[in-house]
């Protein structure tokens, strides 16, 4: 589904130029659950952001189902993003002024889903995430785990083909972390492609494949036996 070739990304600041991505080659198949690991600063988040069309690389190619995404203009990128991708962040990034329900509803509004359908879709996902009795609360009134579940719900409500998660458990304790990981696995089993950045090999163990980055390079790939055999 995804084919990335020779991706390069350089950050220029006044004092220093940082090559965050230095010729990345990568493929992700439909229905796969890929983890990206590596030391801090090796470019994981950058890669994920580029994949999510949130950031533009200097050069390279990024094909999504044979569409070259790097050639799209702003509006096309934005449209493609809202139609195909969902995001989960380490720091949740919920909007403080909106309730749980409204936060989840937001991407549907931007996707121009009619109000009635919207309500049904949000209710369905809230049920699935087990946060029904929280739907009227504001993000500050929830625990970290609950907040992340809302964030996951928000990422899933549009039924995206690809979910990008940047250290989704990074701010959570292990039991809350596991809850989220189980959610992602469940999702993956239903056919959603997932790319997740993580520092935890425990979390990475949930995925089909682990990609190791260092200094903006892919240095190794490891296939998780057992789970992935039938895919390959």
């Amino acid at each position: 589904m995804i084919r990335i070739e020779n991706l390069e990304k350089v950050y220029k600041t006044e004092e220093i130029e940082t090559t965050a991505l230095n010729g990345i080659n990568l493929q992700v198949k439909e229905g796969e659950f890929v983890s990206i690991m590596g030391p801090s600063g090796c470019g994981k988040s950058t890669l994920l952001n580029v994949m999510g069309l949130l950031d533009k690389p200097e050069s390279g190619s990024y094909k999504f189902m044979d569409t070259e995404l790097l050639k799209l203009n702003d509006r096309e990128r934005s449209n493609f993003r809202k139609a195909n991708m969902g995001f989960v962040f380490q720091n949740f990034n919920l909007i403080d002024e909106l309730t749980v329900f409204e936060n989840i509803e937001l991407p549907l509004i931007y996707n121009k889903v009619p109000a009635a359908t919207r309500k049904a879709m949000v209710n369905e996902i809230i049920q699935r995430m087990n946060i029904v009795n929280r739907s009227g609360h504001f993000p500050q009134q929830l625990s970290g785990g609950q907040q992340q579940r809302v964030a996951v719900a928000r990422a899933l409500v549009t039924k995206p083909k690809l979910v990008l998660a940047d250290e989704p458990t990074g701010n959570l304790d292990s039991s809350h972390g596991n809850e989220v990981m189980e959610l992602l696995c469940e999702l993956n089993e239903q056919g959603t492609t997932i790319v997740m950045v993580t520092h935890s090999s425990h979390d990475a163990g949930f995925s089909n494949r682990i990609i190791n980055l260092k200094d903006g390079h892919v240095i190794s790939e490891k296939i998780n036996k057992g789970i992935t055999e039938e895919l390959i």
Partner: protein
């Protein structure tokens, strides 16, 4: 401590350059606008107050009563001053003088037509003009003497010493220059360039000596011994007419010299305001604009408060008192006001010349005047205080514990105050837009209103010098017509745009004897209505055949209506006791105020009274070449006089000066007020966009387009501006209908001004907000989300 505070203040201002720029810029424009308006107000307020005895000086007003109304004017009999001097106690000086009128004055080859006043010696005692050279003491007691103002003396004599030199007056009289005085202050009601003795006036106009109490032909000024005498003197003055003419209805009121200019509107014999009303509006406007600039500061400071909360928390935690904190924040706002004032200074010096040419004024900053500096310092301090007090109060109220833990949702209260302030600003802006639009509509309406004749392409030439003779008048007429520059010529006893020359002594069959009706009277030439493009409704107009005819009259419609004539042509009435016959009726045409229905008018045909030639320019010809031809011909026939040819429509324009001034000022300063308000809005949007950066980024990640984001950010502001408009409309309606009510001819207030206000304020708000939010809406969403 002060030094430390100053350092922090400077650093804060420096660190937040865009806020500082918006704040100081807004304050500077506000202060500059305020001060320019105040300069104008001071200029008007200072009218006639340059004379040392102005507080005890009064202008004699003559109230002439009739059934319908009381008319008040400062025209009095020449005999009055003498009688007052003789018979009324408590009066120190009483003077009579003419009103300024342009006359020719020449020295060798230099000749100028300049306004002159004939006056007696008391005039100079009451109005103590600064004497630069010569002896003014006895100057006005003689016959053939003259007092020049500095500028005129320079124009006539150049570097020569004018004293005791001889000049010629109207090419007839030889006068000796006895003194030179400083130029009459620009804000003085009596504007002349030279003074002539009253005796000369009597010599040139023999009728003056014999004119009695029925002839109101001059200005009478009184100076009391002290102000306490006013009521006694007024009481004695009131019936001075009745004491001299048994059946007179006129009464006298004394108008203080200091109020002559500003309180020039009389109703029922009492002064009820006038220019002062407009001046009050400007005064108010000055402070409103400054207030708006202060509001900007309040708004931005409280909006930024969350950023500064930490500083406050830490300071309180280490032991600062609330007073010390307030002190610090106030110092910051004083500093900003000071910076604003410095900028305002530069703005003012740059803007004043433009302002002066736009408004036809000659305002300047008088740096040697202590009042200027007091106003300046006062305004700066007041601005700093008003702008700073609320933010200081608010910022210093933060509880350290809450603040250091983070803000949460406590911003709501300040948000609503900020919203209220923005609404306040835009109420003001919308009001100004509506009022300006109404003023312009009214002005346009009056300008477009038919005036009964075609003033375009009509020129007036005064019949002076050689042109006083009938032969030369006729010669001019033939030459002008032959040259092809003009197509028609007639004469009039006054300028087409001049008031005056009116009488009560007209009666007709069936007139109520108590009914006093004022009729304008003019001597008109042959083909008068044809030349000026007016319309004869009935009968005929004067032709060459009516030679010096004092028995046949043309009436205007208003006169016919007033006399109630069913068949005007051939009807007779009496004027000054002699019977006269109506030969024609002319459609009303405007010679006085275009804001009122024309007064009744009688036209007659006496060549000796023609003062102006009125000529219709050839519409086929090129204007400037025609004008050159006309000027050449006039100059050739009347070489001793500068050519005074004027366009009737130029003169007519002057009737709109007041309204034009109001319109221009409302427009100009309204524009500034709106600009300052949008600066404030810009600052607020800047802040909001920054505060909501994270939210905006999340929304973008979730698929919001740039348009979505712009709408989101604009929505709140649009709501505020809409509310402001709703509040402003009734206010603006009341103000503008109040203003309009002073005009007899006025527009109906339509929806248009309100539509303009809504549209304009919304466009301004949306543009301002979008200008700022666009950047945020366009930004890469991940930048704001990455590092929390």
């Amino acid at each position: 401590m002060f030094k430390l505070n100053l350092k922090i203040a400077l650093r804060t201002l420096w660190k937040n350059k865009s806020y500082t720029l918006i704040n100081a810029g807004g304050l500077a424009i506000g202060l500059a606008s305020c001060m320019i308006l105040l300069l104008y107000v001071a200029h008007e307020w200072g009218y006639d107050k340059q004379f040392s005895g102005y507080e005890k000086t009064y202008v004699v007003y003559n109230n002439s009563k009739n059934n319908a109304e009381t008319l008040s004017w400062a025209w009095t009999p020449t005999l009055m001053a003498g009688e007052v001097r003789e018979k009324i106690a408590g009066v120190k000086y009483a003077s009579h003088s003419t009103y300024p009128n342009p006359h020719l004055i020449s020295y060798k080859q230099n000749n100028f037509k300049a306004p002159a006043v004939f006056a007696d010696q008391a005039f100079l005692k009451i109005l103590d003009y600064e004497i630069l050279s010569g002896n003014a003491e006895q100057a006005l007691t003689g016959v053939n003497t003259v007092i020049l103002t500095e500028t005129l003396a320079e124009k006539l004599f150049g570097q020569e010493d004018p004293i005791n030199k001889v000049v010629k007056f109207n090419n007839e009289e030889v006068l000796k220059v006895s003194a030179v005085i400083a130029d009459v202050p620009v804000n003085s009601s009596i504007q002349f360039e030279y003074l002539l003795p009253w005796a000369l006036f009597e010599k040139i106009n023999p009728w003056v000596k014999n004119s009695g109490w029925g002839n109101n032909s001059c200005l009478t000024l009184l100076q009391l011994q002290d102000e306490g005498q006013l009521s006694a003197v007024s009481a004695q003055m009131r019936d001075i007419y009745k004491r001299n003419i048994p059946d007179a209805t006129n009464e006298v009121v004394l108008q203080p010299l200091a109020k002559w200019h500003l309180y020039d509107h009389f109703e029922n014999g009492k002064s009820v305001g006038g220019r002062i009303d407009q001046l009050k509006i400007f005064f108010l406007l000055a402070f409103c604009i400054l207030l708006i600039a202060c509001v900007n500061f309040m708004n931005l400071s409280t909006a930024r408060s969350e950023k500064r909360a930490r500083e406050v928390g830490v300071r309180k935690a280490v032991g600062s008192s609330r007073a010390a904190l307030m002190n610090q924040f106030l110092q910051e706002s004083f500093l900003l006001a000071f910076i604003g004032m410095l900028t305002a200074f530069m703005l003012m010096e740059i803007a004043l010349p433009f302002f002066n040419s736009l408004l036809n004024t000659s305002l300047k900053i008088n740096y040697t005047d202590w009042r200027f500096w007091v106003a300046l310092v006062g305004l700066t301090l007041a601005t700093g205080f008003i702008a700073g007090i609320y933010p200081a109060f608010y910022l210093s109220s933060f509880e350290p514990v809450k603040v250091l833990k983070g803000f949460g949702h406590s911003g709501a209260a300040t948000l609503s105050i900020r919203k209220a302030l923005v609404v306040f600003q835009f109420v003001f802006a919308a009001c100004l837009i509506v009022c300006t639009a109404v003023i312009y509509q009214q002005l346009q309406y009056i300008k477009d209103k038919p005036i009964g004749f075609n003033k375009n392409g009509l020129i007036e030439i005064p019949m002076e010098g050689n042109l006083r003779s009938k032969e030369k008048m006729a010669l001019l007429k033939t030459q002008l017509l032959e040259s092809g520059a003009v197509t028609g010529v007639t004469y009039f006893s006054r300028s087409l745009n001049e008031g005056g020359n009116n009488t009560f002594s007209v009666s007709w069959p069936g007139k109520n004897p108590n009914d006093q009706v004022l009729f304008n009277f003019r001597s008109a030439g042959a083909s008068f209505s044809k030349t000026i493009g007016a319309e004869m409704i009935a009968g005929e107009e004067f032709s060459e055949a009516h030679h010096n005819d004092s028995t046949h009259m043309i009436l205007n419609e208003a006169a016919v209506a007033r006399m109630g004539l069913k068949h005007p042509v051939g009807a007779t009435f009496s004027w000054g006791g002699s019977p006269v016959t109506v030969i024609g009726v002319i459609k009303d045409f405007v010679v006085e105020s275009p804001y009122q229905a024309p007064a009744p008018m009688i036209l007659y045909h006496i060549e000796d009274e023609f003062e102006y030639m009125i000529a219709r320019m050839n519409p086929e010809g090129n204007v400037s070449s025609s004008v050159n031809k006309i000027d050449e011909i006039v100059k050739a026939i009347n070489p001793n006089y500068p050519v005074e040819r004027k366009f009737a429509d130029d003169n007519f324009e002057q009737k709109f000066q007041n309204e034009q001034l109001l319109g221009t000022i409302a427009n100009l300063f309204g524009g500034f007020a709106i600009f300052i308000s949008s600066l404030g809005l810009l600052g607020l949007a800047l802040f909001m966009a920054e505060q909501r950066k994270k939210e905006i980024s999340i929304r973008k990640v979730l698929g919001a387009s740039t348009m979505n984001i712009l709408t989101l950010l604009n929505k709140d502001f649009i709501k505020l501006v809409a509310i402001a408009n709703v509040i402003a409309f009734p206010l603006a309606y009341i103000i503008s209908s109040n203003w309009l009510s002073a005009y007899e001819y006025r527009i109906q207030i339509s929806l248009l001004p309100f539509g303009i206000a809504v549209l304009l304020s919304l466009i301004i708000a949306v543009l301002t907000v979008s200008l700022q939010s666009f950047k945020v809406a366009k930004a890469n969403p991940i930048d704001a989300l990455k590092y929390e």
